[in-house]
């Protein structure tokens, strides 16, 4: 049975919900994790479910972590903005489990008076791009009209799979106003650049400031790694000297 453990209920006034779980290119997870870190959001709840993959994770330091989803809270000291952030180290595997988790999270959000939600997802193209676009879709056409002010492409058709999509779809049934932002990604790499693009759009919409340097660095590391792979591939494509033939090798 899915269990939602709330450690201590924070006092929040009309918070918004921002959600993103691991999916294609890790776009949503990277973006939301970055948001949690930069805002110094506080963990207040954990969700465990038999619909999560039947495994635990061994961390780099050798300690063990159960598969779980998490709820964080953040409140801006100056403005009235407050936020519940939903993320985790996994997604429910079965559709039944994905519905269950999305419903439980929205139920918890409703108790805090959440009326607006933002979910983050990935828009998979299979192609690497220099500047990932941000696609957007909303529960109401007026919201979409409003979104056109930002540098986004309206996603008119297609599916948004998994809990990231269901959270958004089920919010509509609960008459919450929802926006889903999708970062363009090839889907083949852990795409920090796409996560950054989507987070830049989100922070503009919410009018909050979030430093991006950690994501930028991560994106640079990925770029450098991909360049190395390309170089290796290029090298393999070059004619190799035959056995016994002197190749153009320099040692210096």
């Amino acid at each position: 049975m899915t269990t939602v453990k709330i450690f201590k209920k924070p006092e929040l006034t009309n918070p918004i919900l921002v959600g993103g779980l691991p999916g294609s290119g890790y776009v949503a997870k990277l973006a939301v994790d970055h948001l949690v870190k930069e805002l110094d959001a506080k963990l207040f709840g954990e969700i465990f479910s038999p619909s999560f993959p039947p495994q635990v994770l061994v961390r780099k330091d050798g300690t063990v972590e159960l598969m779980k989803n998490e709820l964080y809270w953040w409140r801006d000291k100056k403005s009235e903005t407050s936020m519940i952030i939903f993320t985790g180290n996994t997604q429910a595997v079965s559709p039944e489990g994905q519905y269950d988790i999305a419903e439980r999270v929205l139920g918890a959000a409703e108790e805090f008076g959440v009326k607006r939600i933002f979910t983050i997802a990935a828009f998979v193209t299979g192609e690497r791009v220099e500047r990932p676009r941000v696609f957007a879709t909303a529960t109401e056409s007026e919201l979409l009209d409003d979104l056109r002010r930002y540098d986004i492409v309206v996603m008119k058709e297609g599916n948004i799979g998994g809990t990231n999509g269901l959270l958004f779809g089920l919010a509509k049934l609960r008459e919450m106003r929802g926006i889903c932002l999708l970062g363009e990604t090839s889907g083949y790499i852990i795409d920090a650049k796409s996560a950054q693009a989507v987070l830049e759009t989100l922070t503009k919409i919410l009018d909050i400031r979030v430093g991006m340097s950690a994501l930028e660095n991560r994106a640079k590391e990925t770029e450098a790694f991909l360049r190395r792979i390309q170089e290796l591939e290029h090298r393999e494509e070059q004619p190799q000297p035959k056995k016994g033939e002197k190749g153009l090798f320099y040692i210096g």
Partner: protein
């Protein structure tokens, strides 16, 4: 609704803050070989059994420890000496200080439930520490570990056991480690290092199981004679090398 997972008490076990050793069918069968050997050689006697409608006798996909939604496999019995045996998780005890749990991999629907029930029983028995026996195939020889907290990892260094694996720990044994952690019980997993056999992931590695049991005996000070594994381990190692196309 009918009961999906149920428990049968074989006898009352008298235990005093025991250490539980857990092993299940899994990667290169190292954990399973280790608990089978412990049960046979300590020797242990059974006191509790867990049955479940989620225990397939035939799995839809191999290996058994990677359960997939919608692919429950097939229920049934396994014959042992002509007698039908239902698949089950077994609890055995040795003296009043050791519990050995022989796990069984459930289908996707049952893995968490079975792990929770096992963890509940371990808690009720007053278990002070759970030691999971398993394997990983990230290279090298010897034994590595992971644990529910850093303090245990530090203690393991005294025995020359370091961490080294990062990533998912699939199946029942990993989940039990997670579930006992939620119940405030200390947990340690010892991994025998082994070589992956992609065409048969559960192909037994007796040599790795032997190395693992040597370390378990040292850590827990168990009077375990491992000579029974030696000839079998060497024969198996040679067969593995030949399957991998390496010279024997």
């Amino acid at each position: 609704m009918s009961i999906k997972t149920w428990t049968k008490t074989v006898r009352e076990a008298k235990l005093s803050r025991p250490v539980a050793l857990v092993g299940s069918p899994g990667f290169r069968s190292v954990g399973l070989i280790a608990v089978n050997y412990l049960i046979e050689k300590l020797p242990c006697s059974p006191f509790l059994e867990i049955y479940s409608r989620s225990f397939p006798v035939e799995y839809a996909l191999a290996p058994s420890y990677v359960a997939t939604p919608g692919l429950p496999g097939s229920g049934g019995v396994a014959l042992k000496d002509g007698v039908p045996e239902l698949p089950r998780v077994e609890f055995h005890s040795w003296q009043d200080k050791i519990v050995v749990v022989r796990g069984y991999q459930a289908d996707f629907e049952g893995q968490y439930q079975v792990a929770e029930i096992v963890a509940d029983h371990l808690q009720q028995l007053g278990t002070r520490r759970v030691v999971v026996l398993a394997a990983h195939g990230k290279g090298g020889e010897g034994v590595q570990c992971c644990a529910t907290d850093r303090r245990i990892l530090k203690k393991m260094r005294v025995y020359g056991v370091e961490t080294g694996y990062e990533g998912p720990f699939f199946g029942l044994s990993g989940l039990i480690l997670g579930m006992i952690m939620l119940r405030g019980i200390e947990g340690l997993a010892l991994f025998g290092l082994t070589t992956p056999m992609p065409e048969d992931p559960e192909s037994p590695d007796l040599a790795s199981a032997k190395t693992l049991l040597e370390k378990v005996s040292e850590i827990l000070d168990l009077p375990l004679d491992l000579s029974g594994l030696e000839p079998r381990a060497e024969k198996r190692r040679q067969s593995d090398l030949s399957k991998l196309g390496l010279s024997v």
